[in-house]
């Protein structure tokens, strides 16, 4: 039942409670508001002085001024206190106002004057407007951006119902007399007390509920304000200023402001015109007896019938319309209908002209129809569509300033619009010339439509800015300078003097220099002279980075050129270069002095500058040193030489650099490519050289190093050979997205050439190539290729859901390690496909903007994720958005995704048999075939065992009773989709010229099926375990469990196999660390020596355990020793290999952080658990008294 209701109203079950509480508060507010509106406002209008009563213009102006003052006060509090407290505060102001008003009314003399009515009117208008505006921020506290879209629509429906309840209660409590005075009839004495009492009670209810909200809501969603520390809180005026300043800074809000003014002016003009024509029509139509009654009935009917029409629309359709069309398109509905209303309203004065009689309007039905449409638009559509959609538009405003922005627009901009129109209506021709107002309306209406289009276009970008502001505001603010006052500076100076460590002193030095530049130079120079080498180098660096250029600092640098420490010399020469310039003799002579420095990095620092001088005196020394570096045996030195070559400006050096592209050392190759990249961008290269270089560099697009491929693409662009686009095209298929993007950017820079080359290949049939070409072409001609991008995204989504079906089919076999690896491979393929979708989307909406939205989409915080989905929503249609949202939602189960793929993409159900077959048929990637064969071997082995050992052995039963947790859950042979014969025949199908690795895998699989186990032997030539075996094995090791298969492939290659005999020492305490060890076979004891003969056993490790993590990253000395307890095979991963992998896959560092965190938690648990607890054997020996 609940589910059906939730589906009907498009809400989630967990939202019921929160929605109900806010709805109850909303009913309280609206019912009270209706009563107050009818009684207090009517009393105020009744008691208005005669001259003011005659002018609606004065009323508009006065009203606008009340709103401006109210919101200026409100904005000072908004976003500074929690929203529920502000709501309670507003209710309190209303309650106090009513009490004071009652006191004033209790005096019979005062009661007859204008003042109590004026006071109550002020309270009503200010409190009513502030509360109406504050609903938005309050709801946003409890519902994220996506949920708010549904909730606001339902709350709008609740508002409608509440108005009906309010009106009905007036009808009943007024003795079933519907003729409640509205415009100019006096209010009964008893009625105003009744109205005030009801408003008092409803405000009291709101006050209590607001205070109890955090508890009532039963969720912990601290508002942004509550997470700020008190020190970060601003004063009331700063708060106000910050909010308003934000509105001026944001292009989106600037557009919103202008549109709001148009909207207010339009509304007021339309109201004026409708009233004018109603009056005239009522006064001439023979059927109408009383003008006031006629007008009152007209408005009442529109509101009543409009509400009846609007209620089901709001409840069931509006949110679906928004989901289908998007906020930005729905935003155009009301401005368009308003413009239509304005245009049709001009028909009436036109008919005046035709009939030449201003009092006769024919035919009447058309006039009434026009007025009904205009009024329906002005009231019903305005409240039902425009106001609700505006709430959605506010979703693109950061929560931090949302309250103040609303206050700014509702409390300053909109009243400003009212003031404009109030002043305009005082202009005499408005009343006499029938064309003035309609013409104005049409002009304003056109402006309103264009302004709204502008807002809609800005909406997507505003969402991205909002995500940046909400999620990364600390990063943005970090770029601001820190503000120092004199007390802070004094305190810093004291701390600098007292600081005991160099790190802190340098940090404070940096802060002091940043605050007051040169002022602290003497103090810091003195500290450098008397400090450590670290402090000397650090202070020089601080001066240079802060651009302090006094002679004292130059002298300091010159003095430390001859420092005994290389770190200081390096800082000094860099500083000198920065301060006196690279061309100055002072620097060059110092550089020459350091040319033979024993630190190669210092030589590398000065050598390029000496070469650049072209001064024979410096050049002869420099050239000699450069040649020595280029011919050096050490690759690091050669790499330095190559790098320096790249800094010269001779095209002939390019030929020289080509020699190093094929250097045996990776680092030298990389440096040579980087040097060619630099040179090719700065020198003119002849056509012959271009052809020669292009051939060589094109081959580098297949280099295993990402950075080399990236440079190769850039070099091709710099050289720009005739067939540039064709040469660069393979890079569009690169595994690395950065390489692809660079290639795409370079192709786009030559639009004509690129379009000519790529367009014919668009339908080449190669899926990825076709998609990449589309992504390039769409950036050249968006209109032509945009639809193709969306088709591509849909195709990729289909593939993703096909993969989901594959993963789903493997679930029954999940306990087989190889199947687990296959599942990981498919999952990673899906992740790559998802990245491709966002890449395609980035080609339309900008890579950076999409990246921000995707970051938010992948956040663990639901509110941030909702913002991400909302930002993507603007870029995609509902079908594509739903596909992506479902797939990326952490709450989506595999079964749900599988069902979605079946229903939306008609994906047929895969079975495990088909998945393994597909893997074996994967002719492009040998390692995948290998894994497929391994899987068949593993499944076949289990089938064989189940057929030969149908009964559970006694040993198995004992093992089960012993509760050995390390064993994987039992594998049921019934789940295996193959028969042994099928496996045999599949393996037999792999024939022909097979690579060695595949042949080995086939042999292993066939042996496994026959129950022959594979004995590892140290005597075997080459690796004992193949790379693919390593992948499967490493996936089971905790340290690598969350590392992707593509990364594990690299890890597997980097690992070294090491055998140890029983009782052999793997490493000892104090031996330098820097390696991770993984036990493949055997056991290892981790021990700490406590005396010459005794040691403590910290841990005993077995297969799939790892050790050495504690020294892996800092290569520090081991604090424990490791001893093999039996014959043991280990895989060893060394620090440089791991660091190189992290460089290539930065996200791996986060995985390692998580692994280490988990290990710390486990160690903490062990520490707590052991607390002198002994092993079973030790306990036994204790009992025996040994």
């Amino acid at each position: 039942m609940t589910n059906q209701v939730a589906r009907l109203f498009n809400i989630r079950r967990d939202e019921f409670r929160r929605l109900s509480i806010i709805s109850i508060m909303m009913v309280f507010f609206i019912v009270g508001y209706v009563w107050a509106n009818i009684t207090i406002v009517a009393d105020f209008i009744d008691k208005l002085p005669e001259d003011a009563n005659n002018s609606i213009a004065y009323l508009l102006i006065g009203d606008a001024l009340i709103i401006i003052v109210t919101f200026a006060i409100y904005a000072a509090f908004a976003d500074r206190f929690s929203n529920n407290r502000i709501m309670a505060g507003l209710a309190t102001v209303g309650i106090v106002g009513i009490l004071i008003g009652s006191f004033l009314l209790s005096d019979s003399t005062l009661r007859e004057t204008f003042y109590p009515a004026l006071f109550l009117y002020l309270v009503f208008r200010s409190v009513g407007e502030a509360i109406s505006t504050h609903w938005g921020p309050l709801v946003n506290d409890y519902f994220d951006t996506r949920a708010a879209k549904r909730i606001f629509t339902l709350l709008a429906a609740v508002t409608r119902v509440s108005y009906l309840i309010g009106s009905l209660s007036v009808f009943i409590l007024n003795g079933f007399d519907i003729s409640i005075p509205l415009l100019n009839q006096s209010v009964n004495i008893g009625l105003i007390e009744l109205g005030m009492s009801i408003w008092f009670v409803t405000l009291l209810g709101m006050f209590l509920m607001s205070l109890a909200m955090p508890r009532l809501m039963n969720i912990t969603t601290p508002s942004v304000i509550e997470t700020q520390s008190k020190a970060d809180q601003k004063s009331y005026f700063q708060n106000l200023y910050e909010g308003y300043q934000f509105a001026f800074r944001s292009p989106y809000l600037r557009a919103f402001v202008i549109v709001s003014i148009f909207m207010m002016v339009m509304q007021a003009l339309m109201q004026f015109e409708i009233l004018r024509y109603l009056n005239e029509y009522a006064s001439v139509a023979s059927t109408v007896t009383a003008t006031d009654d006629f007008i009152s009935n007209f408005f009442s009917n529109i509101i009543i019938w409009g509400s009846i029409i609007l209620l089901p629309f709001q409840l069931f359709f509006f949110v679906r319309l928004v989901a289908w069309a998007g906020v930005e398109k729905v935003n155009l509905i009301f401005p368009t209908t308003s413009l239509i209303a304005a245009v049709v309203l001009t028909i009436i004065p036109f008919s005046y002209v035709q009939s030449n009689n201003p009092l006769v309007i024919e035919p009447a039905i058309i006039v009434i129809g026009i007025l009904v449409f205009a009024e329906f638009n002005r009231t019903v559509l305005n409240i039902g569509i425009r106001a609700v959609n505006d709430e959605f538009l506010y979703n693109a405003v950061p929560v931090r300033v949302k309250g103040r922005i609303r206050a700014f627009i509702s409390g300053l901009v909109e009243p400003f619009g009212t003031l404009i129109i109030g002043a305009f209506l005082l202009y005499p021709p408005v009343a006499t010339e029938v064309w003035v107002v309609p013409s104005m309306m049409v002009v304003i209406g056109i402006g309103y439509v264009f302004g709204s289009v502008w807002v809609s276009l800005q909406y997507g970008r505003a969402l991205i800015s909002m995500i940046e502001e909400e999620n990364f505001s600390f990063m943005l603010q970090a770029n601001n300078r820190i503000v120092f006052d004199s007390d802070t500076l004094q305190s810093l100076e004291n701390r600098f003097q007292q600081a005991s460590d160099d790190d802190t002193r340098l940090l404070i030095a940096r802060l002091l220099v940043e605050a007051k530049g040169n002022h602290y130079a003497p103090m810091l120079i003195n500290t450098a002279d008397n400090g450590s080498k670290y402090l000397r180098a650090g202070i020089i660096d601080t001066f240079v980075s802060s651009d302090i250029r006094s002679e004292a600092v130059v002298t300091l640098c010159a003095k430390y050129i001859v420092d005994s420490d290389a770190l200081v010399r390096k800082s000094a020469i860099r500083g000198l270069k920065e301060l006196v310039g690279v061309q100055s003799d002072r620097y060059l002579l110092a550089a020459l002095e350091l040319l033979n420095d024993n630190d190669p990095s210092i030589v590398a620092e000065v050598l390029p500058d000496l070469i650049q001088t072209r001064d024979f005196y410096f050049l002869q020394h420099a050239t000699q040193t450069l040649n020595e570096l280029l011919d050096h045996d050490d690759p690091q030195q050669r790499a330095i030489g190559v790098r320096i070559l790249g800094n010269t400006d001779s095209p002939r050096v390019l030929l020289l650099l080509l020699r190093y592209i094929i250097d045996r050392s990776q680092i030298v190759r990389l440096q040579s490519v980087l040097a060619i990249e630099t040179l090719s961008s700065s020198v003119r290269v002849t056509d012959e050289l271009v052809q020669a270089l292009s051939m060589t560099v094109s081959a580098l697009l297949r280099d295993p190093l990402d950075r080399i491929r990236l440079s190769a693409v850039q070099i091709l662009a710099n050289l720009h050979p005739k067939d540039f686009a064709e040469r660069i095209m393979p890079a569009l298929l690169d595994d690395n997205l950065e390489v692809r993007e660079r290639a795409a950017q370079l192709l786009i820079a030559k639009p004509n050439e690129t379009a000519k080359t790529l367009t014919p290949l668009l339908d080449s049939g190669h899926g990825l190539m076709s998609r990449m070409i589309s992504s390039v072409l769409v950036r050249i001609d968006r209109n032509k290729y945009e639809d193709r991008i969306y088709e591509n995204i849909d195709d990729v989504l289909r593939t993703i859901y096909e993969n989901v079906s594959r993963i789903h089919s493997l679930q029954s076999l999940k306990n087989y390690p190889t199947i687990d690896v296959i599942e990981s491979i498919i999952k990673e393929e899906n992740q790559l496909l998802l990245d491709e979708i966002f890449y395609l989307l980035g080609s339309i909406y900008g890579v950076d903007d999409v990246a921000i939205a995707v970051d938010a989409l992948q956040s663990t915080i639901p509110r941030t994720r909702a913002n991400g989905v909302e930002a993507i929503d603007v870029m995609l249609n509902l079908h594509l958005l739903t596909g992506i949202e479902k797939f990326t939602n952490p709450a989506s189960s595999l079964a749900e995704l599988h069902d979605y793929g079946q229903s939306v993409y008609s994906v047929s159900s895969s079975d495990a048999k088909q998945v393994i077959r597909e893997l074996i048929d994967h002719h492009n990637e040998e390692w995948k075939i290998y894994i497929g064969i391994e899987a068949l071997g593993e499944l076949g082995q289990h089938l064989h065992q189940s057929q030969t050992q149908p009964q559970q052995s006694t040993l198995d039963l004992l093992s089960a009773l012993g509760g050995n947790d390390n064993e994987s859950p039992s594998k049921n042979a019934d789940n295996i989709p193959f028969t042994l014969d099928e496996i045999h025949s599949l393996l037999a199908s792999l024939q022909g010229e097979l690579p060695l690795a595949i042949r080995t895998a086939l042999r292993r699989a066939k042996n496994a099926i026959q129950g022959i186990t594979f004995e590892r032997s140290e005597q075997r030539i080459g690796s004992i375990i193949s790379d693919v075996e390593r992948i499967i094995f490493l996936k089971r090791v905790q340290f690598f469990q969350d590392i992707s298969i593509s990364q594990l492939r690299k890890v597997a290659t980097a690992c070294h196999e090491v055998w140890y005999d029983a009782d052999q020492v793997i490493f000892t305490e104090d031996q330098q660390g820097g390696s991770l060890y993984i036990i493949v076979e055997g056991r290892v004891g981790i021990e700490r020596t406590q005396s010459d003969v005794k040691s403590a056993r910290l841990n005993t490790l077995k297969s799939e355990d790892s050790f050495g993590e504690d020294t892996l990253f800092d290569e520090s000395a081991h604090s424990t020793s490791a001893i093999s307890l039996s014959r043991t095979l280990l895989l060893r991963l060394d620090n440089p290999d791991l660091m190189a992998l992290i460089q290539s896959y930065p996200d791996m560092s986060m995985t390692i952080i998580c692994v280490l965190s988990e290990q710390i938690r486990q160690i903490d648990h062990r520490i707590t658990s052991i607390a002198k607890q002994d092993s079973q054997a030790e306990s036994l020996f204790d009992k025996l008294g040994i």
Binding site: S229, K230, A231, N471, S473, F474, M475, A478, I482, T488, L492, R495, D503, T504, L507, I508, R510, S859, T860, T864, R1083, G1085, E1087, R1088, Q1090, S1091, V1093, K1094, S1095, A1096, R1097, E1109, F1113, D1114, S1119, T1120, I1142, Q1143, P1146, S1149, M1150, I1152, I1153, C1154, L1156, S1157, E1158, I1160, R1161, I1163, D1164, I1167, T1168, I1170, A1171, K1172, S1175, Q1176, A1177, L1180
Partner: protein
Amino acid sequence: MLSQVDKIIFLKSIPFFANTTMQQLTALAQASITETYSSDEIIVDVGDVPRALFMIATGKVTVTHFAGDRSVEHTLETRSYFGEAYVFEDVESDFRALAISETIILRLGYDPLQTLIKKDLTLSYNIVRNLSQAIKAKNDEIASLTRTHSRGMHQIFDKIDS
């Protein structure tokens, strides 16, 4: 209450952020929240999901780890930190952190840290190194809690345990 400059200097003294740049420190200072706890007030309880690094600016905190009916308690003072193993994952704590004097804590949540790590690998290296060192320190603790035996006895135990 800690000013922005105080926070920067304090963060620099925390080994986790020893090698961070000034800009990163400023960002971290901006993202961290100052919290004041009175004596005997619980900062993190067993079963909470802390998802933050807690750094003690002033005061004293006892951190008690629980495992079944056993517990181990440590007292931490100014410039110490806790929760480092709980920042990066959504796991419930098995420890209770209790302020034992008036304490000011600088709390740094997961999201800003993750954002900064994504932007700069050096910060992640630093964190990895610090976590490794924490493992080393905890190994020392295990060693102090574990009995010692001669090599021969270890061999006998191994044979029996295997």
